[in-house]
Amino acid sequence: MEQYFNQYIIVAIFIIIGIALPFGALTAGKLLRPKAPTKEKQTTYESGNEPVGLSQVQFNVRYYMFALLFVIFDVETVFLYPWAVAYQELGLFALIEMLIFVSLLVVGLIYAWKKKVFEWDSI
């Protein structure tokens, strides 16, 4: 039992460090840095550009669709990559498994296609 809890102590230490680190770093920075604010320094940092409009704007909902589709292919790659690396050892069985996996994703792709997700004016 004690051993069981001892393992959690490591987790607890990680959590504590995780919380303490940003606090510590920011506090240290605050103590060390000189403080000379000007108006320009206090504006939002946008890669050197002048910020335009409000910072809280709604994104077009269409972007979410793209994001979702991106995730599908992203995940596909994540799975395909290790499979390709270990292809020699896994053999035919894994090939069939992968084909099933890819074909399921294709079904999702066809679904998205027919639902006109790829057309900007569909919504």
Binding site: M1, Y4, V107, I110, Y111, K115
Partner: protein
């Protein structure tokens, strides 16, 4: 234990595979469905897929010999599992049939998706009924849950429905998280994801681990209670029930509950952990006590709050909360035969009554309880059938509902939990009041609003099936009981 899967083993998974393939094919067919053709065709195909799957199940049941275990017990084909799957398929088939007359274009823009989504939901429930591994169980649960989140949200131009669906998703995810957290404790202590192994390991643990076992149970109970809609985790139910499409509501009320029951049915044996060998105490007895308390609260809250409801679907929501209480009672007595009998009774009467509600709310365009007014004068046959379903819900003799409750009570009295029996029986007397209120409306009030009520043929068939079965198995319970125990 063999962890490999062979092609021959796929035969044992045929009912699930049928549904899985049907989901893909039918969802693709839906995409290429002719624009102006009725989407009922999709529904018919869904129904066929469900029936084929049920056919395979019956075949499996007939040729079943002992327990078939695949993939290191993460997939089991066994007696009660098949019964549960059959119940799920029966329920979903009835719901699909009810939907033909109930789901309308103006309500639900994506009818094709509606029918297709019922299948993964059923598949999730079937996977749950068939696994003894916490990961597979959780996958089944999530397949069921995610499908039902979408089903609840299908009335997409209805503000209330969207709000309810959103709440359902958020709360449902929290419940899933609780379940997952509880499972993680079990895994941590048991060192395995297999429930049998967890059970074996837990028995030999030293007593300092016992608090953790309790923690895992209470975490599971929160998630379980939520999905079962047992008080005090029931608050989502009235809102979701009143806002979701009625066939989906009957799905939540019947199939989700059945799935959660099989879920708990698998988990409870894990808690047979001896506390004190001298006094024959186990953690299980505390688990049972907790279940009893939750059951008592559910029955009391469900039946009393239902008295004040004006919206039919809210009323039925509280009635289903009360029924969750009855289910918890029978679950705690560990009598699967009685559980299955009452589950079938509950399935028939709930789906039947929701089928009536779909027909009435579609012709009245609202859900006030007054939709029942004067039904006897406008549609006498439907009214009489509704009376039988309501009597079954109330637990009046000569219905399955009565015998089901009787069997449950026998189990409770046998273990001498008299207080629970008293609460159960008194709260069902309280429920007389609101069920008979509907009867009063049908027979003793004039028909003010609608002069003609059109009950679609398919809906009528569903109601008739439910009523006939409710009566038949009340007069001849032997057929069902011996089928349940048939080996």
């Amino acid at each position: 234990m063999d962890t490999r899967l062979f092609a021959a083993d796929l035969l044992d998974m045929l009912p699930e595979l049928t549904l899985f393939i049907a989901i893909i094919i039918i969802s693709l067919l839906d995409l290429f469905w002719p624009k102006n053709a009725s989407k009922k065709g999709i529904g018919v195909l869904t129904l066929i897929a469900l029936i084929v799957s049920a056919g395979f199940l019956i075949y499996q049941r007939i040729h079943l010999d002992g327990v078939i275990s695949l993939l290191n017990d993460s997939y089991l084909v066994y007696h009660y599992g098949i019964l549960f799957k059959l119940i799920v398929l029966l329920g979903v088939s009835l719901i699909v049939m009810m939907s033909f007359g109930a789901i309308r274009d103006k309500d639900i823009p994506h009818i094709g998706e509606y029918y297709v989504l019922l299948m993964p939901a059923a598949l999730g429930a079937m996977i749950m009924a068939s696994s003894a591994d916490i990961i597979t169980l959780f996958i089944g649960l999530e397949l069921l849950s995610i499908s039902s989140y979408i089903l609840v949200a299908l009335r997409k131009h209805h503000t209330k429905s969207n709000e309810a669906a959103f709440k359902y998703i958020v709360l449902g995810s929290i419940a899933s998280a609780f379940i997952l957290y509880g499972m993680s404790f079990l895994y941590g202590m048991g060192g395995s994801t297999n429930l049998f192994q967890i059970g074996a390991t837990l028995q030999s643990l030293e007593s300092s681990f016992h608090p953790m076992i309790y923690v895992s149970f209470f975490l599971l109970l929160v998630g379980f209670g939520f999905k079962l809609a047992a008080a005090p985790f029931h608050t989502w139910a009235p809102e979701v029930y009143s806002a979701a499409p009625t066939p989906v509501v009957s799905f939540l009320a019947v199939i989700s509950k059945a799935a959660m029951l099989i879920f708990m049915f698998m988990f409870l044996p894990v808690y047979f952990v001896p506390l004190d060998p001298v006094q024959n105490l186990t953690i299980y007895s505390d688990v049972v006590l907790t279940l009893h308390v939750v059951a008592a609260i559910s029955m009391i809250v469900g039946n009393i709050v239902a008295l004040m409801q004006k919206n039919v679907k809210r009323l039925l929501a509280f009635s289903s909360i009360a029924n969750a209480g009855y289910f918890l009672v029978v679950l705690s007595t560990d009598r699967p035969g009685e559980l299955v009998y009452y589950l079938v009774a509950y399935l028939l009467m709930t789906i039947g009554i929701f089928a009536v509600v779909t027909a009435l709310e579609n012709s009245a365009e609202h859900q006030d309880i007054s939709i029942f007014s004067g039904l006897y004068f406008t549609a006498p046959v439907t009214a009489v059938m509704t009376v039988i379903l309501l009597l079954s819900l109330a637990g009046i003799p000569l219905t399955m509902g009565f015998l089901g409750k009787f069997f449950i009570l026998l189990g409770v009295i046998q273990v001498k939990t008299y207080w629970l029996a008293a609460i159960m029986i008194v709260s069902s007397v309280i429920s007389f009041y609101y069920y008979f209120r509907i009867i009063r409306l049908m027979f003793m009030r004039s028909h003010s609003e609608h002069t003609t009520i059109k009950v679609p043929v398919t809906t009528m068939i569903v109601i008739a099936i439910c009523v006939v079965a409710t009566i038949f198995f009340a007069f001849f319970p032997q057929y069902m009981l011996s089928f349940i125990e048939w080996t």
